[in-house]
Symmetry: C2
Subunit: 363 residues, 2 copies
């Protein structure tokens, strides 16, 4: 193998595929990046066996070939080189990297030992913009389950139904549902691991460029620009989330998102000290009072609201409110309540493409 | 106690004194900030018994008084308030904090239990600009000893001699000496704890405003703007550093600081893998070759230099070079050598106010 390429292109490609490199593995080859030079392209691949990322860059290939190099060391060295042309050559399993007057030699690994990514027939493709996919991930992923008690809840439901794409995450205490219209005559339902979506959202740009999505029974493939990301899907049935979201309410509060967030953040300073994260809402007429108590003190916060319906007293884990208020992209929001033991639903005032549901704490 | 003040002023004052708050203490009162309202001022004080910081802000004081509040909780709450007027009132050891429609109550501690800072007679004052003091700290502090085997080396020597102010740090492997002229007819020598100077450098601004410095046999006092910082000094004699710095050399290399830093950083990637941090210099005629080796590979770097004298082969711990090259503020530097077992001296080409000395590794 022997090729030259631009440092910046190579660095970006390494940054992309490194997101799939395994950090805690006993299988040493997974700490590496597979580099393949074919004709006028260099293809980089990394995988931890659950998630695989492949990307290519333009290069001047003098001799086709392949090698596996340690991802961390190779990445750090390339990053520290000046922005110039890099030459990479493999002789007897030694990888020579040259740039200006710098020369780096590392021992490579046999490319035949590198696991190949599952091959996926790219028949049915769904299309969505990078920016939209990023937002759908960001607005739901925080609500996935953090423990593995029910593995299916560590993923996000990807559902296409009746021309809508729905992302759903829930952990038993709250649920986040983000919807966008999509062009598709087919319905589909699959659960994508949270880790996969978290890494993808770091690679996606806030741009209108298209991501193509394909499924097999066990895998999902994302294709955009020069990059392919393949992940296994989670086994099992997702919870029937439609049964959980209430379709009516007894009272509805309209409130400024930022004022509510600031007040809850201050109240949660003490709630945190008490280790319960407990905050109480007292809603009546034109104001909402938020309080929290602990051994060392108490907080009282008052916010102006618009109320439809009767008042209510209800308590929550403050973290579940802070999480959603930090990511919701709307100036004003609705809070919908029924009783002090039934869930609160958070919606945007200016759009119905986002629903967040949170269970109260019984006092 | 009862006063009102601007949120921003109070927040800045908290940020300043918090640098002396003790984090790992069994003496609970040291986790607090002493707040004293006197006439039209509010004075905040924190100390960990080694380091004490006191600062004051303007305030409308309705009732003089004092209280101790938990530093972390108080600081976080004030920080999260809007930029507005804050009212603070103490009733029966409860501290009431009000701002707009937010109200926070925390239990305070008895101010009489808070240790008072040593009182210092501000007779002889040395003056230096904030920016200069910041730089003198930054360019020496990285060379202090990290372990407590010889406690005196965990401090920086503050020496005034013959109209020069010298800061000296050394750890047995390298030495950093920064000098500036100062107006003083007296000579002085004291060793200031590294931790004190590290916290001070985070409070100082890059401005021409003056810092006044006073000594007692056991303490040092820094005064600037509304702030006083008092620290104990380290006991014992500092090493006679003048004996260590060689006053001649056999060969001298002129080199671009950034090129040398980049090359050494790349070489140290492998040096680090080998866990020795070992890099080798081979200096001859108009070039300097830097190499490093480990089981998994090797790096070869070549840099253009101007050489006075004969060539040399010499080896170093790369970390000791990276540290100084990251902070030295000069485009071009001199490296002065005598033999492969005697120290290398690093100097700036455009000034003689900085000397760094590093011991080689014997091969």
């Amino acid at each position: 193998m022997w090729f030259t390429c631009e440092k910046e292109l190579l660095e970006n490609a390494i940054n992309t595929v490194q997101r799939a490199t395994s950090n805690k593995t006993t299988y040493q080859i997974l700490e590496g990046i597979l580099i393949k030079a074919i004709d006028n392209k260099v293809v980089l691949t990394a995988t931890d066996l659950d998630l695989g990322i492949e990307t290519y860059i333009k290069a001047n290939v003098n001799k086709n070939g392949a090698i596996v190099v340690n991802s961390k060391l190779f990445g750090e060295f390339i990053r520290k080189l000046p922005n110039d042309i890099i030459m990479i050559e493999v002789k007897d399993n030694n990888v020579f990297i040259k740039c200006n007057k710098s020369e780096f030699v590392i021992v490579g690994n046999n490319p035949d030992e590198f696991p190949s990514l599952p091959s996926i027939n790219e028949n049915t493709m769904y299309e969505i913009s990078q920016d939209l996919l990023r937002n759908m991930i960001r607005q739901t992923i925080f609500a996935i389950a953090q423990d593995e008690t029910r593995p299916i809840l560590t993923g996000i439901l990807f559902e296409i139904k009746d021309g809508m794409l729905n992302f759903v995450a829930l952990d038993g205490y709250r649920l986040a549902l983000k919807s966008e219209s999509i062009e598709s005559s087919q319905n589909i339902s699959a659960v994508i691991p949270g880790k996969t979506l978290s890494e993808i959202s770091k690679i996606l740009e806030p741009s209108d460029d298209i991501v193509k999505i394909t499924f097999t029974p066990n895998h999902i493939l994302f294709t955009f620009e020069n990059t392919k990301i393949i992940s296994r899907l989670l086994d099992g049935e997702f919870i029937n989330y439609r049964q959980i979201v209430p379709d009516e309410y007894k009272l509805r509060v309209k409130v400024s998102k930022n004022e509510l967030l600031d007040s809850i953040e201050r109240a949660s300073l003490l709630a945190r000290e008490g280790k319960t994260n407990l905050i109480k809402f007292e809603i009546s007429d034109d104001k909402m009072v938020i309080t929290s108590n602990s051994q060392i003190g108490k907080v009282y916060e008052e916010i102006e609201i618009e109320l439809e319906g009767e008042g209510i007293k209800i308590a929550f884990n403050s973290k579940y409110f802070v999480d959603v208020l930090r990511i919701i992209d709307s100036e004003e929001i609705y809070l919908e309540f029924s009783t002090s033991v039934s869930p609160c639903v958070v919606k945007k005032c200016d759009s119905n493409n986002y629903i967040y549901l949170v269970l109260p704490v019984r006092l």
